[in-house]
Protein backbone atom coordinates (compact mmCIF):
# COMPACT_ATOMS: atom_id res chain seq x y z
CA UNK A 1 0.00 0.00 0.00
CA UNK A 2 1.12 3.55 -0.62
CA UNK A 3 0.70 5.53 2.57
CA UNK A 4 -0.02 9.22 2.26
CA UNK A 5 -1.14 8.80 -1.34
CA UNK A 6 -3.94 11.27 -0.80
CA UNK A 7 -1.63 14.03 0.51
CA UNK A 8 -1.53 17.03 -1.81
CA UNK A 9 2.28 16.95 -2.04
CA UNK A 10 2.33 13.24 -2.89
CA UNK A 11 -0.50 13.64 -5.39
CA UNK A 12 1.22 16.54 -7.13
CA UNK A 13 4.46 14.57 -7.35
CA UNK A 14 2.69 11.56 -8.83
CA UNK A 15 0.82 13.71 -11.36
CA UNK A 16 4.00 15.48 -12.43
CA UNK A 17 6.11 12.33 -12.83
CA UNK A 18 3.36 10.30 -14.51
CA UNK A 19 2.76 13.05 -17.04
CA UNK A 20 6.47 12.90 -17.91
CA UNK A 21 6.67 9.10 -17.86
CA UNK A 22 3.18 7.50 -18.14
CA UNK A 23 4.80 4.05 -18.13
CA UNK A 24 5.47 4.38 -14.40
CA UNK A 25 1.72 4.11 -13.75
CA UNK A 26 1.80 0.30 -13.67
CA UNK A 27 4.51 0.37 -11.00
CA UNK A 28 2.61 2.95 -8.93
CA UNK A 29 -0.50 0.75 -9.15
CA UNK A 30 1.45 -2.32 -8.02
CA UNK A 31 2.97 -0.44 -5.09
CA UNK A 32 -0.51 0.79 -4.08
CA UNK A 33 -1.89 -2.76 -4.29
CA UNK A 34 0.98 -4.35 -2.34
CA UNK A 35 0.41 -5.73 1.14
CA UNK A 36 3.58 -4.07 2.45
CA UNK A 37 3.56 -0.35 3.26
CA UNK A 38 5.54 2.15 1.15
CA UNK A 39 5.81 5.92 1.06
CA UNK A 40 6.66 8.29 -1.78
CA UNK A 41 9.36 10.91 -1.37
CA UNK A 42 7.81 14.13 -2.72
CA UNK A 43 11.17 15.90 -3.10
CA UNK A 44 13.50 13.29 -4.62
CA UNK A 45 14.10 13.16 -8.38
CA UNK A 46 11.97 10.66 -10.31
CA UNK A 47 9.54 8.54 -8.32
CA UNK A 48 11.23 7.34 -5.15
CA UNK A 49 9.43 4.79 -2.97
CA UNK A 50 10.62 3.97 0.55
CA UNK A 51 9.84 0.71 2.26
CA UNK A 52 8.06 1.27 5.57
CA UNK A 53 8.32 -2.39 6.43
CA UNK A 54 10.37 -2.49 9.64
CA UNK A 55 11.19 -6.19 9.89
CA UNK A 56 14.89 -5.43 10.39
CA UNK A 57 16.80 -2.29 11.21
CA UNK A 58 17.98 -1.85 7.65
CA UNK A 59 14.75 -2.69 5.83
CA UNK A 60 13.38 0.77 6.40
CA UNK A 61 16.40 2.25 4.59
CA UNK A 62 15.49 0.48 1.35
CA UNK A 63 14.32 2.54 -1.59
CA UNK A 64 13.34 2.16 -5.23
CA UNK A 65 13.71 5.09 -7.62
CA UNK A 66 12.03 5.14 -11.03
CA UNK A 67 13.54 7.50 -13.57
CA UNK A 68 14.49 7.94 -17.21
CA UNK A 69 18.30 7.64 -17.50
CA UNK A 70 18.58 9.52 -20.80
CA UNK A 71 16.00 12.03 -21.93
CA UNK A 72 16.30 11.08 -25.59
CA UNK A 73 15.94 7.35 -24.93
CA UNK A 74 12.76 5.38 -24.29
CA UNK A 75 14.44 3.04 -21.78
CA UNK A 76 13.45 3.53 -18.13
CA UNK A 77 15.11 2.42 -14.95
CA UNK A 78 14.21 1.14 -11.47
CA UNK A 79 17.15 1.79 -9.16
CA UNK A 80 17.38 0.01 -5.78
CA UNK A 81 19.40 1.36 -2.88
CA UNK A 82 19.67 1.88 0.84
CA UNK A 83 19.63 5.37 2.20
CA UNK A 84 22.36 6.58 4.51
CA UNK A 85 21.43 6.62 8.19
CA UNK A 86 23.79 9.51 8.92
CA UNK A 87 22.23 12.92 9.34
CA UNK A 88 23.19 15.18 6.45
CA UNK A 89 24.66 12.39 4.30
CA UNK A 90 23.45 12.15 0.71
CA UNK A 91 25.08 8.77 0.21
CA UNK A 92 23.15 5.99 -1.43
CA UNK A 93 24.16 2.36 -1.10
CA UNK A 94 23.42 0.89 -4.47
CA UNK A 95 22.11 -2.64 -4.93
CA UNK A 96 21.65 -2.29 -8.67
CA UNK A 97 19.04 -1.31 -11.20
CA UNK A 98 16.71 -2.88 -13.71
CA UNK A 99 16.43 -1.14 -17.06
CA UNK A 100 13.22 -1.72 -18.97
CA UNK A 101 11.26 -0.69 -22.01
CA UNK A 102 7.76 0.52 -21.08
CA UNK A 103 5.88 -1.86 -23.36
CA UNK A 104 7.78 -4.92 -22.14
CA UNK A 105 7.25 -4.49 -18.41
CA UNK A 106 5.04 -7.25 -16.98
CA UNK A 107 3.22 -7.38 -13.62
CA UNK A 108 5.31 -10.32 -12.38
CA UNK A 109 8.48 -8.35 -12.88
CA UNK A 110 7.09 -5.39 -10.95
CA UNK A 111 5.92 -7.68 -8.15
CA UNK A 112 9.44 -9.14 -7.90
CA UNK A 113 10.83 -5.62 -7.42
CA UNK A 114 8.36 -4.86 -4.66
CA UNK A 115 9.04 -8.15 -2.90
CA UNK A 116 12.78 -7.48 -3.08
CA UNK A 117 12.34 -4.00 -1.67
CA UNK A 118 10.20 -5.30 1.20
CA UNK A 119 12.73 -8.08 1.92
CA UNK A 120 15.40 -5.49 2.69
CA UNK A 121 17.10 -6.06 -0.70
CA UNK A 122 18.03 -9.57 0.35
CA UNK A 123 20.63 -11.06 -2.06
CA UNK A 124 18.50 -14.21 -2.40
CA UNK A 125 15.60 -12.22 -3.88
CA UNK A 126 17.45 -10.21 -6.52
CA UNK A 127 15.23 -9.58 -9.56
CA UNK A 128 16.20 -10.93 -12.95
CA UNK A 129 18.09 -8.56 -15.28
CA UNK A 130 19.56 -6.61 -12.39
CA UNK A 131 22.49 -4.43 -13.44
CA UNK A 132 25.07 -3.67 -10.78
CA UNK A 133 26.89 -0.82 -12.55
CA UNK A 134 25.83 2.11 -14.73
CA UNK A 135 27.36 4.51 -17.16
CA UNK A 136 24.95 7.31 -16.34
CA UNK A 137 24.43 9.47 -13.30
CA UNK A 138 21.42 8.61 -11.18
CA UNK A 139 19.46 11.71 -10.12
CA UNK A 140 19.12 12.61 -6.46
Amino acid sequence: MLTGAADAECRAKLDRELSLNPAFASVVRAVSDAAEPFSLDPVAGGLEFASLHVATSSTSRCRMKLFRPREEKERLCAFFFKKSNIAGSRDRFSYGAVEFLPDRLGPDEIRSWIAWLASGLHPGHRPANLKRAFLYTIPE
Binding site: K82, I86, S89, D91, R92, S94, F134, T137, I138
Partner: protein, 396 residues
Protein backbone atom coordinates in the same frame (compact mmCIF):
# COMPACT_ATOMS: atom_id res chain seq x y z
CA UNK B 1 31.21 2.80 15.96
CA UNK B 2 27.84 4.12 17.10
CA UNK B 3 26.95 7.80 17.06
CA UNK B 4 25.47 9.45 20.13
CA UNK B 5 22.65 11.95 19.50
CA UNK B 6 24.96 14.66 20.91
CA UNK B 7 27.09 14.39 17.74
CA UNK B 8 26.64 17.24 15.30
CA UNK B 9 28.36 15.77 12.27
CA UNK B 10 26.55 17.96 9.76
CA UNK B 11 28.36 21.01 11.13
CA UNK B 12 31.49 19.44 12.57
CA UNK B 13 32.57 16.65 10.23
CA UNK B 14 33.40 15.86 6.66
CA UNK B 15 30.26 14.49 5.12
CA UNK B 16 30.34 10.72 5.21
CA UNK B 17 30.85 10.15 1.55
CA UNK B 18 31.06 7.09 -0.62
CA UNK B 19 32.82 8.93 -3.44
CA UNK B 20 35.69 6.64 -4.44
CA UNK B 21 34.90 4.19 -1.70
CA UNK B 22 35.05 0.65 -2.99
CA UNK B 23 36.07 -1.06 0.17
CA UNK B 24 34.80 1.25 2.80
CA UNK B 25 33.37 4.58 3.67
CA UNK B 26 32.73 6.01 7.02
CA UNK B 27 33.45 8.85 9.38
CA UNK B 28 36.91 10.39 9.23
CA UNK B 29 38.42 10.84 12.66
CA UNK B 30 41.86 11.69 14.02
CA UNK B 31 43.19 9.92 17.09
CA UNK B 32 45.86 12.17 18.60
CA UNK B 33 48.99 10.49 19.91
CA UNK B 34 52.52 11.26 21.07
CA UNK B 35 54.33 9.65 18.10
CA UNK B 36 51.89 10.86 15.46
CA UNK B 37 48.20 11.46 15.01
CA UNK B 38 46.37 8.56 13.43
CA UNK B 39 43.79 9.29 10.73
CA UNK B 40 41.18 6.64 10.33
CA UNK B 41 37.89 6.07 8.57
CA UNK B 42 35.43 4.49 10.95
CA UNK B 43 32.43 2.42 9.78
CA UNK B 44 29.20 3.94 11.03
CA UNK B 45 26.63 2.98 8.38
CA UNK B 46 26.81 -0.80 8.36
CA UNK B 47 24.65 -3.02 10.56
CA UNK B 48 27.69 -4.38 12.43
CA UNK B 49 28.59 -0.81 13.48
CA UNK B 50 25.33 -0.67 15.44
CA UNK B 51 26.67 -3.49 17.66
CA UNK B 52 30.01 -1.77 18.36
CA UNK B 53 31.03 -1.10 21.97
CA UNK B 54 32.42 2.27 20.83
CA UNK B 55 30.21 5.33 21.03
CA UNK B 56 31.13 8.74 19.64
CA UNK B 57 29.96 11.50 21.95
CA UNK B 58 30.19 15.27 21.63
CA UNK B 59 31.30 16.75 24.91
CA UNK B 60 31.26 20.55 24.85
CA UNK B 61 33.11 21.52 21.69
CA UNK B 62 35.16 18.32 21.48
CA UNK B 63 34.51 14.69 20.70
CA UNK B 64 35.26 11.55 22.67
CA UNK B 65 34.97 7.84 21.95
CA UNK B 66 33.59 5.92 24.90
CA UNK B 67 34.19 2.20 25.28
CA UNK B 68 30.99 0.68 26.61
CA UNK B 69 32.87 -2.29 28.09
CA UNK B 70 35.33 -0.43 30.29
CA UNK B 71 33.80 3.03 30.45
CA UNK B 72 37.11 4.48 29.24
CA UNK B 73 36.98 7.64 27.12
CA UNK B 74 39.39 8.71 24.37
CA UNK B 75 39.54 12.22 22.96
CA UNK B 76 39.43 12.36 19.17
CA UNK B 77 39.41 15.11 16.60
CA UNK B 78 36.82 15.29 13.85
CA UNK B 79 38.34 16.92 10.76
CA UNK B 80 35.98 19.56 9.40
CA UNK B 81 34.68 19.48 5.86
CA UNK B 82 36.76 21.57 3.46
CA UNK B 83 34.89 24.49 1.93
CA UNK B 84 35.83 23.41 -1.58
CA UNK B 85 33.69 20.24 -1.25
CA UNK B 86 30.58 22.33 -1.88
CA UNK B 87 32.15 24.53 -4.57
CA UNK B 88 31.65 23.89 -8.27
CA UNK B 89 34.19 23.69 -11.05
CA UNK B 90 34.01 26.10 -14.01
CA UNK B 91 32.09 23.38 -15.82
CA UNK B 92 29.51 23.33 -13.01
CA UNK B 93 30.49 20.03 -11.39
CA UNK B 94 30.22 19.80 -7.63
CA UNK B 95 33.81 19.26 -6.47
CA UNK B 96 32.97 16.59 -3.88
CA UNK B 97 31.67 14.42 -6.71
CA UNK B 98 35.05 14.53 -8.42
CA UNK B 99 37.33 13.76 -5.51
CA UNK B 100 37.47 13.61 -1.72
CA UNK B 101 40.03 13.80 1.04
CA UNK B 102 40.75 10.39 2.52
CA UNK B 103 42.92 11.45 5.42
CA UNK B 104 45.05 14.36 4.21
CA UNK B 105 45.42 13.31 0.59
CA UNK B 106 43.08 13.77 -2.34
CA UNK B 107 41.61 10.61 -3.85
CA UNK B 108 40.10 10.60 -7.33
CA UNK B 109 38.54 7.67 -9.14
CA UNK B 110 39.41 8.65 -12.67
CA UNK B 111 37.35 6.61 -15.03
CA UNK B 112 34.01 4.94 -15.46
CA UNK B 113 33.27 1.96 -13.29
CA UNK B 114 35.54 -1.06 -13.31
CA UNK B 115 34.72 -3.21 -16.33
CA UNK B 116 34.45 -6.33 -14.17
CA UNK B 117 31.06 -4.99 -13.12
CA UNK B 118 29.83 -4.97 -16.71
CA UNK B 119 30.65 -8.60 -17.50
CA UNK B 120 27.87 -11.11 -17.56
CA UNK B 121 27.98 -12.66 -15.03
CA UNK B 122 29.79 -9.84 -13.18
CA UNK B 123 33.41 -10.53 -12.23
CA UNK B 124 33.74 -7.82 -9.64
CA UNK B 125 35.80 -8.35 -6.52
CA UNK B 126 33.45 -9.67 -3.86
CA UNK B 127 34.37 -7.14 -1.17
CA UNK B 128 34.05 -4.11 -3.45
CA UNK B 129 31.22 -1.69 -4.21
CA UNK B 130 33.07 0.61 -6.58
CA UNK B 131 30.99 -0.36 -9.58
CA UNK B 132 27.75 0.39 -7.83
CA UNK B 133 29.11 3.67 -6.57
CA UNK B 134 30.18 5.48 -9.71
CA UNK B 135 27.22 7.31 -11.19
CA UNK B 136 25.31 6.91 -7.94
CA UNK B 137 27.40 8.94 -5.52
CA UNK B 138 30.04 10.33 -7.84
CA UNK B 139 30.35 11.47 -11.44
CA UNK B 140 30.29 8.67 -13.99
CA UNK B 141 33.25 10.21 -15.82
CA UNK B 142 35.81 12.75 -14.71
CA UNK B 143 36.64 15.63 -17.02
CA UNK B 144 40.32 16.52 -17.03
CA UNK B 145 39.66 20.20 -16.32
CA UNK B 146 37.37 19.32 -13.40
CA UNK B 147 40.10 17.13 -11.95
CA UNK B 148 42.70 19.88 -12.29
CA UNK B 149 40.43 22.43 -10.60
CA UNK B 150 39.62 20.09 -7.73
CA UNK B 151 43.30 19.28 -7.24
CA UNK B 152 44.13 22.97 -7.23
CA UNK B 153 41.41 23.75 -4.67
CA UNK B 154 42.50 20.86 -2.46
CA UNK B 155 46.11 22.02 -2.60
CA UNK B 156 45.34 25.68 -1.93
CA UNK B 157 42.64 25.26 0.70
CA UNK B 158 43.49 21.95 2.37
CA UNK B 159 47.27 21.88 1.91
CA UNK B 160 47.13 18.63 -0.02
CA UNK B 161 50.56 17.38 -1.13
CA UNK B 162 49.51 14.06 -2.64
CA UNK B 163 46.92 13.23 -5.28
CA UNK B 164 46.01 9.58 -5.68
CA UNK B 165 44.31 8.34 -8.83
CA UNK B 166 42.73 4.94 -8.98
CA UNK B 167 40.67 3.01 -11.43
CA UNK B 168 39.11 -0.39 -11.86
CA UNK B 169 39.80 -2.78 -14.71
CA UNK B 170 39.97 -0.97 -18.07
CA UNK B 171 40.73 -3.92 -20.36
CA UNK B 172 44.43 -3.29 -20.75
CA UNK B 173 44.16 0.48 -21.31
CA UNK B 174 44.47 1.27 -17.63
CA UNK B 175 47.76 3.16 -17.75
CA UNK B 176 46.86 4.99 -20.95
CA UNK B 177 43.69 6.35 -19.34
CA UNK B 178 45.57 7.58 -16.30
CA UNK B 179 48.39 9.26 -18.23
CA UNK B 180 46.70 12.61 -19.06
CA UNK B 181 45.54 13.06 -15.45
CA UNK B 182 49.01 12.36 -14.08
CA UNK B 183 50.61 14.79 -16.49
CA UNK B 184 47.99 17.51 -15.91
CA UNK B 185 48.35 17.45 -12.14
CA UNK B 186 52.11 17.52 -12.37
CA UNK B 187 52.19 20.38 -14.87
CA UNK B 188 49.14 22.46 -13.93
CA UNK B 189 48.88 21.96 -10.16
CA UNK B 190 52.05 20.49 -8.69
CA UNK B 191 51.72 17.63 -6.23
CA UNK B 192 53.03 14.16 -5.55
CA UNK B 193 51.05 11.84 -7.76
CA UNK B 194 50.18 8.23 -6.99
CA UNK B 195 48.36 5.78 -9.23
CA UNK B 196 46.57 2.59 -8.35
CA UNK B 197 45.64 0.69 -11.48
CA UNK B 198 45.30 -2.82 -12.70
CA UNK B 199 48.86 -4.02 -13.42
CA UNK B 200 50.15 -4.59 -16.90
CA UNK B 201 52.71 -7.13 -18.12
CA UNK B 202 53.97 -4.41 -20.48
CA UNK B 203 56.34 -3.09 -17.87
CA UNK B 204 57.83 -0.34 -20.06
CA UNK B 205 54.56 1.55 -19.63
CA UNK B 206 55.53 2.24 -16.03
CA UNK B 207 58.67 4.03 -17.22
CA UNK B 208 56.46 6.26 -19.37
CA UNK B 209 54.07 7.02 -16.55
CA UNK B 210 56.99 7.96 -14.31
CA UNK B 211 58.25 10.30 -17.03
CA UNK B 212 54.82 11.90 -17.08
CA UNK B 213 54.99 12.50 -13.35
CA UNK B 214 53.92 9.43 -11.36
CA UNK B 215 55.74 9.31 -8.03
CA UNK B 216 54.06 6.27 -6.55
CA UNK B 217 52.32 3.08 -7.60
CA UNK B 218 50.15 0.87 -5.48
CA UNK B 219 49.00 -2.59 -6.45
CA UNK B 220 45.88 -4.01 -4.84
CA UNK B 221 46.30 -7.73 -5.01
CA UNK B 222 44.23 -8.11 -1.86
CA UNK B 223 44.95 -11.74 -0.98
CA UNK B 224 48.27 -13.56 -0.92
CA UNK B 225 46.71 -17.01 -0.77
CA UNK B 226 46.08 -17.94 -4.43
CA UNK B 227 42.84 -19.76 -3.57
CA UNK B 228 41.39 -16.69 -1.88
CA UNK B 229 42.64 -14.53 -4.75
CA UNK B 230 40.78 -16.73 -7.23
CA UNK B 231 37.63 -17.10 -5.15
CA UNK B 232 37.04 -13.48 -4.19
CA UNK B 233 38.63 -11.70 -7.15
CA UNK B 234 37.23 -13.57 -10.17
CA UNK B 235 37.96 -10.78 -12.64
CA UNK B 236 41.54 -10.24 -11.51
CA UNK B 237 42.09 -14.00 -11.58
CA UNK B 238 40.73 -14.37 -15.10
CA UNK B 239 42.18 -11.31 -16.81
CA UNK B 240 45.36 -10.43 -14.96
CA UNK B 241 46.45 -13.08 -12.49
CA UNK B 242 48.36 -12.73 -9.25
CA UNK B 243 51.77 -13.08 -10.95
CA UNK B 244 51.22 -9.91 -13.00
CA UNK B 245 50.69 -8.00 -9.77
CA UNK B 246 53.93 -9.37 -8.37
CA UNK B 247 55.97 -8.59 -11.50
CA UNK B 248 54.64 -5.01 -11.69
CA UNK B 249 55.23 -4.46 -7.99
CA UNK B 250 58.80 -5.73 -8.23
CA UNK B 251 59.55 -3.76 -11.40
CA UNK B 252 58.24 -0.41 -10.15
CA UNK B 253 59.79 -0.87 -6.71
CA UNK B 254 63.15 -1.24 -8.46
CA UNK B 255 62.49 1.79 -10.67
CA UNK B 256 61.36 4.16 -7.94
CA UNK B 257 63.41 2.87 -5.02
CA UNK B 258 62.59 1.67 -1.56
CA UNK B 259 59.37 2.88 -0.01
CA UNK B 260 57.85 4.48 -3.13
CA UNK B 261 55.60 1.59 -4.15
CA UNK B 262 53.03 -0.26 -2.11
CA UNK B 263 51.29 -3.60 -2.16
CA UNK B 264 47.75 -3.31 -0.87
CA UNK B 265 46.15 -6.25 0.89
CA UNK B 266 43.04 -6.97 2.90
CA UNK B 267 43.39 -8.49 6.32
CA UNK B 268 40.63 -10.45 7.98
CA UNK B 269 39.44 -12.73 5.19
CA UNK B 270 42.31 -15.08 4.30
CA UNK B 271 44.15 -16.88 7.13
CA UNK B 272 46.36 -14.50 9.14
CA UNK B 273 49.46 -16.55 8.20
CA UNK B 274 48.86 -15.66 4.55
CA UNK B 275 48.55 -11.97 5.40
CA UNK B 276 51.85 -12.16 7.28
CA UNK B 277 53.42 -13.84 4.24
CA UNK B 278 52.10 -11.02 2.06
CA UNK B 279 53.71 -8.43 4.32
CA UNK B 280 57.02 -10.31 4.20
CA UNK B 281 56.91 -10.55 0.42
CA UNK B 282 55.97 -6.89 -0.16
CA UNK B 283 58.68 -5.55 2.12
CA UNK B 284 61.27 -7.98 0.72
CA UNK B 285 60.99 -6.32 -2.71
CA UNK B 286 61.40 -2.82 -1.24
CA UNK B 287 57.73 -1.85 -1.24
CA UNK B 288 55.60 -0.98 1.77
CA UNK B 289 52.45 -2.84 2.74
CA UNK B 290 49.18 -0.97 3.01
CA UNK B 291 46.79 -3.15 4.93
CA UNK B 292 43.03 -2.64 4.89
CA UNK B 293 41.03 -4.29 7.62
CA UNK B 294 38.17 -6.06 5.85
CA UNK B 295 34.88 -4.19 6.08
CA UNK B 296 31.66 -5.84 4.92
CA UNK B 297 30.31 -2.83 3.10
CA UNK B 298 26.59 -2.38 2.45
CA UNK B 299 25.71 -3.64 -1.01
CA UNK B 300 28.89 -5.70 -1.50
CA UNK B 301 28.71 -9.41 -2.28
CA UNK B 302 30.53 -9.97 1.01
CA UNK B 303 28.08 -7.77 2.95
CA UNK B 304 27.26 -10.68 5.27
CA UNK B 305 30.86 -11.90 5.71
CA UNK B 306 31.95 -11.74 9.39
CA UNK B 307 34.07 -8.79 10.51
CA UNK B 308 37.63 -9.60 11.65
CA UNK B 309 38.51 -9.83 15.33
CA UNK B 310 40.78 -7.29 17.00
CA UNK B 311 42.87 -10.14 18.45
CA UNK B 312 43.62 -11.39 14.92
CA UNK B 313 44.39 -7.96 13.47
CA UNK B 314 46.81 -6.66 16.08
CA UNK B 315 49.60 -9.17 15.23
CA UNK B 316 49.18 -8.23 11.56
CA UNK B 317 50.01 -4.61 12.25
CA UNK B 318 52.83 -5.50 14.64
CA UNK B 319 54.24 -7.55 11.78
CA UNK B 320 53.95 -4.59 9.37
CA UNK B 321 56.31 -2.56 11.56
CA UNK B 322 58.75 -5.40 12.13
CA UNK B 323 58.89 -6.28 8.42
CA UNK B 324 59.45 -2.65 7.39
CA UNK B 325 62.19 -2.36 10.01
CA UNK B 326 63.86 -5.59 8.92
CA UNK B 327 63.93 -4.47 5.29
CA UNK B 328 64.82 -0.84 5.99
CA UNK B 329 61.69 0.53 4.31
CA UNK B 330 61.36 4.30 4.75
CA UNK B 331 57.97 4.94 6.35
CA UNK B 332 56.31 8.24 7.13
CA UNK B 333 58.94 10.17 5.18
CA UNK B 334 56.75 11.95 2.58
CA UNK B 335 55.24 15.19 3.88
CA UNK B 336 51.63 15.42 5.03
CA UNK B 337 50.36 12.09 3.74
CA UNK B 338 47.94 10.58 6.19
CA UNK B 339 45.70 7.84 4.88
CA UNK B 340 42.44 7.05 6.61
CA UNK B 341 41.11 4.06 4.69
CA UNK B 342 44.11 1.84 5.32
CA UNK B 343 46.54 1.54 8.17
CA UNK B 344 49.80 3.19 7.12
CA UNK B 345 53.05 1.50 8.10
CA UNK B 346 54.08 4.48 10.21
CA UNK B 347 50.82 4.19 12.17
CA UNK B 348 52.18 0.86 13.37
CA UNK B 349 55.06 2.58 15.17
CA UNK B 350 52.77 2.44 18.20
CA UNK B 351 53.09 -1.35 18.12
CA UNK B 352 56.89 -1.46 17.76
CA UNK B 353 58.73 -3.87 20.01
CA UNK B 354 61.18 -1.75 22.01
CA UNK B 355 64.87 -2.57 21.65
CA UNK B 356 68.07 -1.48 19.92
CA UNK B 357 66.91 -2.40 16.38
CA UNK B 358 63.79 -0.27 16.80
CA UNK B 359 65.87 2.62 18.14
CA UNK B 360 68.26 2.41 15.18
CA UNK B 361 65.38 2.22 12.67
CA UNK B 362 63.59 5.18 14.24
CA UNK B 363 66.82 7.21 14.16
CA UNK B 364 67.30 6.35 10.49
CA UNK B 365 63.72 7.40 9.75
CA UNK B 366 64.26 10.73 11.48
CA UNK B 367 67.36 11.35 9.35
CA UNK B 368 65.58 10.29 6.16
CA UNK B 369 62.75 12.72 6.86
CA UNK B 370 65.27 15.57 7.14
CA UNK B 371 67.22 14.58 4.02
CA UNK B 372 64.06 13.99 1.98
CA UNK B 373 62.49 17.37 2.74
CA UNK B 374 64.10 19.34 -0.15
CA UNK B 375 63.61 16.39 -2.51
CA UNK B 376 59.89 16.33 -1.83
CA UNK B 377 59.70 20.12 -2.10
CA UNK B 378 61.02 19.81 -5.67
CA UNK B 379 58.67 16.95 -6.46
CA UNK B 380 55.64 18.88 -5.22
CA UNK B 381 56.44 21.92 -7.37
CA UNK B 382 54.82 22.23 -10.79
CA UNK B 383 57.01 20.91 -13.57
CA UNK B 384 56.91 19.92 -17.20
CA UNK B 385 56.66 16.20 -17.83
CA UNK B 386 59.70 14.45 -19.24
CA UNK B 387 57.48 12.54 -21.64
CA UNK B 388 55.16 14.32 -24.03
CA UNK B 389 51.40 13.95 -24.12
CA UNK B 390 50.28 10.63 -25.53
CA UNK B 391 53.66 9.01 -24.83
CA UNK B 392 52.02 5.73 -23.94
CA UNK B 393 49.84 5.78 -27.06
CA UNK B 394 52.78 6.50 -29.40
CA UNK B 395 54.86 3.59 -28.20
CA UNK B 396 51.81 1.35 -28.60
Amino acid sequence: MRLDPTCDLVDDARQVSRTRAGLGSGLEIVIPGPLKDIWTNVPVEEDFAARSPYLLVKDGSGYEIRDGRSGAGYSVRIPPEPRWYAARTSRGTEMRRVGVLQGTYLGIYISNACLYWYSSPPQNCAFCTTGSNVGVNEMASKHLDDVVEVCRAAKEESGVTFVHFNSGYQAGRDLEQAAPYVQAVKERVGALVGVQLMPTPELWKYDQLIDLGADHFSFCYEFHNPEYFARYLPGKQKTVGQETFFRALEYTAKLLGKGAVSGEIIAGVEPVEDTLRAIDYITSVGAFPTVCVFRPVIGADMESHPVPRYEDMRPVFEHVYEACKRNGIPIGVAPNIEVSLICQPDDTRYLAHPGPTTWIYETQLKLMRRVARPIFRRKIARRTARAGPGALERVC
